[in-house]
Amino acid sequence: MLKFILKRLALLIPTLLGVITLVFFMIALAPGDPARVMLGERANAEQLAQLRSELGLDQPLSKQYMLYIGRVLRGDLGKSIVTQQKITKELSDRLPATIELALTATLFASILGIVLGVAAARKRNSWVDYSTMTGALVGVSMPVFWLALVLIMIFSVGLDLLPTGGRMNVRLYFRPITNFYLIDGIIMWFREGKSDYFVSALKHLILPTVALGTIPLAIIARTTRSSMLEVLKQDYVKTARAAGVPERKVVFRYALRNALLPVITVIGIQFGLLLSGAILTETIFAWPGIGKWIYHSIGARDFPAVQGGILFISFFFVTINLVVDLLYSVINPRIRLK
């Protein structure tokens, strides 16, 4: 097992180096002078020269590349041109918001997806099955940003039940503690004895969670169903049934446990994707996370910020996928033998 983990970790190094290289050259070889693009047409020669030397653009490309790799390995992603803040700081400020949303969306998608998938598999070719699978197909075919707007239209504008965006009612004058607002809400609940903060944080989370979680929900429901159908065909399930084990117990005690193996992998991959794929959702719901920040950095032509942002997210993505892989091999030892 240790050997397997070490081997996977060793494979990570060339991938991460490749990611850094690709990110560097994507920006370095982009058409046009980056300094000119960042400062706009009205910048004078002096300003351009200063920014170029600040960014190291006056050095030869090979030297720039070496310097860049060195900096990234030291954990230095440079400074944002717009805010002059360290990019690592900008990212860590926004990370909790992104993680909070990705977690609630994954949770929503997993619970509902598994329940629906199991129901569909148990009642194969029934109306439950057909409507779940049709719903899943519609779910993966839907543009997320459109769903988000429709949800706002119905629940915020029409029914006036939920807020249209943000993380907390501004009138509560809330000062974040951990930056995970649900947790902060609970802390405040204990401290001040009122649930207002928690309720407000929860209300702000509902619509973005549903919008972001719909595609994973559809994928998880489909995976659970097909995996469950596969397992229910197995001999040990037939044996259990023949031995008179109650159907409920067969499904939930014996079959589900094995059927969930592939589902766990899918959930992990989806969580990784949600951390990065939240650009549209975060932008629509004014959710102050990394996705929205990258989008604004692109708009502001803040190349170091964009570079740092994608690098960070990709590292995160690769690491999560590795963890999922390792986790899968822990729960399913057959994989390791391959």
């Binding site: 690709l22 058409p31 993966v140 459109w146 650009i279």
Partner: protein
């Protein structure tokens, strides 16, 4: 006996699996798959509307009738109503279909060309060639798809053409992987070995002998890919990184009318339903094709 004759005799005896009957049989199975046929019908309707857009659309999609702005559906002869500049929504959706189908087909062609060649070469030669190509593919897959697409467009500059290039590049790794896997499965088959023993060169073997037999899973991927490309380009346009106004692109139509969700539900809702239906069509057909063409699922 001349070499050529030997070749002909051997070719007659060893029939590759993908004879014309394979596609005929697949088509027959497709017509019996209800979901796939539903998908095919949806795609056909959109394709016909796209081709005959000038005839199908009641109005010019760009013509503004300011006094008739934000007219509700089924009033004053506007079947789907008008947008904030008084443009006929039905006409814009019909013309938008043209753009979306082109985006889907062009993006997938780009990924097929790039990813297909890489996958074919990697799967055919194996060894260090395979390792180098797959390493690059793995690195590309380390970037989440949506993010990679957005960054490429951001670098190239926002436009519909660049959006298609970006989607094409970002989707490319999947085709490389799928085709590589099926090429590796075919490489050691008898009909390939027979061709090779006759001295057929690598290029011929790759493109004429193996490719047609290894294409089925890639076609499934391509069908699903068109749907995903339509979704992605709508997303890019929504963010202002794809089509630019006044192009009647579905995603852009939603973006430019989102401030009217409080007063005019149709301007946001209807273009979204158009995207949903078009993507659904490709997903239905793709799933159906997978059931039929993917040998792993075939009993």
């Amino acid at each position: 006996m001349s070499d050529n004759m030997t070749k002909e005799i051997i070719e007659e005896e060893i029939t590759p699996p993908a004879e014309p009957g394979f596609w005929k049989e697949s088509w027959y199975q497709l017509t019996r798959n209800r979901a796939a046929m539903a998908g095919l019908i949806i795609i056909s309707v959109f394709t016909l509307m796209a081709i005959f857009a000038p005839l199908a659309a009641p109005e010019d999609p760009l013509e503004q009738t300011i006094p008739a702005r934000l007219t509700a559906p089924f009033t004053d002869g506007y079947i789907l109503g008008t947008d904030d500049l008084g443009r006929d929504l039905l006409s814009r959706i019909i013309y938008g279909g043209r753009i979306s189908l082109i985006i889907g087909v062009v993006s997938v062609s780009i990924s097929l060309a790039l990813g297909g060649v890489l996958g074919l070469v990697a799967g055919y030669f194996g060894g260090w060639v395979d390792r180098v190509i797959m390493r690059v593919i793995d690195i590309m897959l380390a970037f989440p798809y949506i993010l990679l697409t957005i960054v490429i467009v951001a670098i190239l500059g926002p436009s519909l053409m660049n959006a298609m290039v970006a989607i094409g590049i970002s989707q490319m790794p999947r085709y490389a992987r799928v085709l590589r896997a099926s090429v590796m499965g075919e490489r050691e088959q008898d009909y390939v070995l027979a061709e090779r023993s006759l001295g057929t060169n690598n290029f011929e073997l790759m493109f004429h002998t193996i490719l047609p037999n290894a294409l089925a899973p890639t076609m499934v991927q391509a069908t699903l890919g068109v749907g995903e490309a339509i979704l992605s380009s709508a997303g890019l346009s929504f963010l202002g990184l794809g089509a630019q106004p006044p192009t009647p692109e579905w995603g852009l139509m939603i973006a430019s009318s989102k401030q009217f969700i409080t007063s005019a539900w149709w301007v946001v809702t209807l273009p979204g339903i158009a995207i949903l239906l078009a993507v659904l069509g490709f997903n239905l057909l793709g799933d159906g094709l997978r059931d039929i063409l993917d040998p792993r699922l075939r009993d």
